[in-house]
């Protein structure tokens, strides 16, 4: 694991070359020669890959594998941001990539990034698959009281509009044992039956995950997750014979490099 992480780190590091070396920066003094190095390099490119949730979920006999990951590369204020979330049903090997978003992210405020880009949503597995694409604009950042918030407005290629919101909060039980509360919801502005989306509030998801940090980077966890579908979406799912409510035991790992 360590070797692999080091290697990945090296790759990230190698791409994090220092740009803009060579004098000529405005803040350098009056006598610096053009071929001198800069005194400091405060404009480096960094990057990070975070698997926020890589987990197994079990609700009765249903078994799911779920991922929720993000990666970014860039400087302090401008970053390329990739996010993906999805799940696969372990019994049928089918599932969906709920989103795979590639976004430009700009820090416009002390704690907030505005993000905009394109996203893809697809299903996979034995049954016929489908896909759709959307344009995204969203906010990601740290709200007062230390809530990590990620929220997006999406317009699909069919013109359907939806809004999603995720928030996480960490309670430090000790310096290494952390209880994370998580909430998410999705609001659609039109019915999209093909995707199981009814207009209005689609669902509310709540989760509690207790993780232990063996290091800052690596933290396995266990927890519970609850999802409730609501309104038109609930009706839609009832008609299709799908669950409108699920409570799961989850186990997984949070790690980054």
């Amino acid at each position: 694991m360590n070797i692999m992480m080091n290697r990945i780190k090296w790759v990230v590091g190698a791409s994090a070359l220092t740009l803009a070396s060579g004098a000529g920066a405005a803040g350098t003094g009056v006598q610096a020669e053009p071929d001198w190095t800069l005194p400091i390099h405060d404009n480096q490119v960094f990057g990070q890959v975070l698997f926020d949730r890589m987990e197994y979920q079990r609700d009765g006999d249903n078994e799911l594998a779920l991922w929720d990951a993000q990666a970014w590369i860039g400087k302090d204020r401008n970053r390329l941001w990739v996010e993906t979330e999805g799940e696969t049903d372990l019994s049928s090997d089918s599932g969906d990539i709920e989103n795979f978003d590639v976004q430009y992210s700009y820090r416009f405020d002390r704690f907030w990034d505005i993000q905009t880009g394109l996203g893809a949503q697809t299903t996979f597995g034995p049954s016929p698959n489908k896909e759709r694409y959307s344009a995204i604009v969203g906010l990601q950042g740290l709200a007062p009281y230390w809530f990590e918030v990620d929220t997006n407005l999406r317009v699909t290629d069919d013109g359907d509009v939806s809004y999603d919101l995720e928030a996480e909060y960490d309670w430090l039980l000790t310096q290494r044992l952390i209880l994370q509360g998580r909430g998410e919801t999705l609001v659609a502005f039109s019915d999209v039956e093909e995707w199981g989306v009814g207009s209005g509030i689609n669902n509310v998801g709540l989760g509690l995950r207790l993780r232990y940090h063996f290091s800052r980077e690596f933290a396995p966890y266990v927890g519970v997750s609850y999802t409730r579908f609501l309104g038109n979406t609930e009706d839609l799912r009832e008609r299709e014979g799908e669950d409108v409510e699920s409570s799961s035991f989850v186990a997984g790992v949070r790690w980054w490099f």
């Binding site: 803040g27 350098t28 003094g29 009056v30 001198w36 302090d76 002390r110 310096q175």
Partner: protein
């Protein structure tokens, strides 16, 4: 002063040292410089005196060393040792310092605190291009001052890897200070990880090294001591700001091994003395990131100089030494062994050494102080804003903290809780206010309103202090309940004052800003790469530099090439410094004579803050 007779084994050891520069020497913790063994005189193979000039040959190299029992490949040594050897100069002579770079990358040496021509200041990109691999650069300058200083790399993050050493400049005229023996005590922080990795961790993961964050348990402890309402609104206040009162040091004992003259605690650096002697200890904080609190339990220390400049003797039990600062103290041991104890400001680790009459002796090592957290003063509300509160604890937000337009959240319905909490938080400031009222009145910037731009410095600054206070009489976070003497800047007084008696003709104000979440550090919200020009001083002018700390951390601010006369309220007896530590929410001012034409670095001396952008060039034109 010489104590060579104590070291019968010296010549043999120096032989071994010579042989060992080739590689590792089992049994030695690291290859230590001669002064770490008590040899402070100038009889080194790499030092000669010719035509009235002190000539040093210094070779920068990567040398594998054993530190605290673990071998590291990464130390950057000078003449084979970590820390680098003592450079001992004489006031009035010329210094010729020939630095040879055997690294595969460029290097440099900055002579910290020395007044010299700008071309000799050693900052790549500002004073010269740097010393390329294989090159030898000759630094040459007249030595104008005397005292305790130090030198270090100004290239990249090399300083973290051992590229630092002490400078002693002997006065041309004998000093009035009497002592029988002297030691240099170089404090530093060592990591076995690559400094690039440390920097990346800080950049991508806020609080990576902080294992003293507030927990749920801490909240309930607050409930116990201050009641539910106050605890709740304290948590709320920090939560709204998205600031942690526990951000005291960015890189902590979880990462660092702290060193005293290159030795970790287990190796127990020892300075020998004979009973009855007076010892001059020259403390140098050569750390990359660590403020140390230094004391010698049971032994008062008389501070006789700060940043190399003599001060009126002041006796104390403890002092906090910011990164890059130096203090000279006189001690007269009463026992056969005394522990020299230096704990990191956040109490995440310490290093100890011993003053002893025999090698191998030890004195009890005290426990570290309990961990602590910042009070409200750190937010820039200070003690003075207490006056802005109504009787029932309501706070006048105009003089409170500005949370980026979210002030209404504070002035809501939490009535008594706020007042109560602030009383606790601003405790130390309150107690001292009465005794130092006179002092405060003399600080020219005291009570002056503060202005921030309409954008409050932008995303580069996570907060601004709208009512910063002069807290030069406050020893700082962690000493709120101390019942012993702790040195403060307000106690430092020069002996005769300084030559330029003019008042300031002009003022330059800079704010110290940062955003921990992205580890962006800057002046006025702008990183070095974002500014549109150097800070201009006009040659010959007398100016007042005002520093306002808009961040939640202490910053040791260092100006190259010119002294900063710190306005402590001591009038013409104000001390002068090369590095001023500015506490969170504090405003300080210093008088400067812009008598050094050229370009000079001006920066926070926390290595990773500097590298993250807290750096400016001052051009004296």
């Amino acid at each position: 002063m010489s104590d060579r007779h104590f070291y019968a084994g010296m010549s043999r050891r120096r032989l071994i040292q010579g042989a060992a520069t080739m590689g590792l020497l089992a049994g030695f913790d690291s290859l230590l410089p001669a002064y770490a063994r008590g040899q402070l005189d100038n009889t080194n193979a790499f030092h000669t005196v010719r035509n009235g000039a002190d000539i040093y040959d210094l070779t920068v190299a990567r040398t594998p060393l054993k530190i605290g029992g673990t071998v590291s490949e990464q130390p950057i040594t000078i003449n084979g040792t970590l820390p680098a050897p003592l450079v001992r100069l004489k006031q009035g002579r010329e210094a010729i310092l020939r630095v040879t770079n055997t690294l595969p990358e460029a290097t440099s040496i900055h002579w910290h605190g020395l007044i010299l021509p700008y071309q000799m200041d050693g900052v790549p990109g500002v004073s010269f291009p740097g010393i390329m691999p294989g090159e030898t650069f000759e630094y040459r300058f007249p030595v104008e001052q005397h005292g305790t200083y130090w030198y270090h790399s100004h290239s990249g993050l090399q300083e973290q890897l051992g590229h630092y050493g002490p400078i002693i400049i002997d006065p041309a005229e004998p000093e009035s200070v009497a002592y029988d023996r002297e030691y240099v005590v170089v404090l530093s922080d060592w990591t076995f990880d690559s400094p690039d990795d440390v920097f990346r961790n800080l950049k991508v993961a806020e609080g990576y090294y902080n294992y003293n964050q507030r927990t749920v348990g801490d909240f309930f402890k607050d409930v116990e001591t201050m009641g539910w309402d106050a605890a709740w609104s304290k948590a709320g206040m920090w939560g709204r700001m998205r600031m942690s009162p526990r951000d005291i040091l960015d890189v902590t004992g979880s990462e660092y091994t702290y060193l005293m003259n290159g030795s970790p605690s287990a190796s127990n650096w020892t300075g020998l003395f004979r009973p009855g002697e007076k010892i001059r200890l020259r403390f140098i904080n050569a750390s990359a990131m660590t403020f140390f609190d230094v004391r010698i339990p049971g032994l008062p220390m008389t501070v006789i100089s700060a940043d190399g400049q003599p001060v009126q003797p002041v006796e104390t039990d403890e002092f906090r030494i910011g990164v890059a600062e130096t203090y000279d103290v006189i001690v007269q041991p009463t026992d056969t062994a005394h522990t020299v104890f230096a704990q990191s400001q956040d109490r995440s680790g310490y290093v100890r050494g011993t003053l002893a009459t025999r090698k191998g002796m030890e004195a009890p090592v005290p426990p570290m102080y309990p961990r602590t957290e910042r009070g409200m003063a750190a937010m820039g509300m200070g003690a003075m804003s207490m006056g802005a509160m109504g009787k029932d604890g309501d706070m006048n937000m105009d003089s409170g903290m500005d949370m980026g337009g979210k002030m209404e959240m504070m002035s809501g319905s939490n009535d008594k809780a706020h007042g109560q909490m602030m009383m606790n938080g601003a405790d130390s400031g309150m107690n001292k206010m009465s005794s130092d009222k006179a002092t405060m009145n003399e600080v020219p910037t005291a009570g002056r309103p503060i202005s921030h731009g309409p954008d409050n410095h932008g995303p580069g600054a996570a907060m601004v202090a709208s009512s910063p206070q002069s807290r030069l009489d406050d020893p700082g976070v962690g000493f709120e309940t101390a019942n012993h003497r702790v040195l403060t800047y307000s106690q430092l007084q020069s002996i005769e004052g300084w030559p330029d008696k003019r008042p300031a003709e002009r003022e330059v104000e800079l704010h110290l800003t940062g955003n921990m979440e992205r580890y962006m550090w800057s002046f006025d919200g702008k990183k070095f790469s974002e500014v549109d020009g150097p800070v201009k001083f006009y040659h010959g002018e007398r100016l007042r530099l005002i520093l306002v700390n808009d961040s939640m951390m202490d910053h040791p601010i260092h100006l190259h090439g010119m002294w900063m006369e710190l306005e402590t309220g001591a009038g013409e007896y104000r001390p002068r410094k090369h590095t001023i530590s500015v506490k969170p929410g504090e405003r300080v001012s210093a008088l400067i004579t812009a008598d050094a034409p050229g370009d000079w670095a001006f920066h926070c001396h926390l290595l990773y803050h500097m590298d993250a952008g807290m750096f400016r060039v001052v051009s004296v034109v």
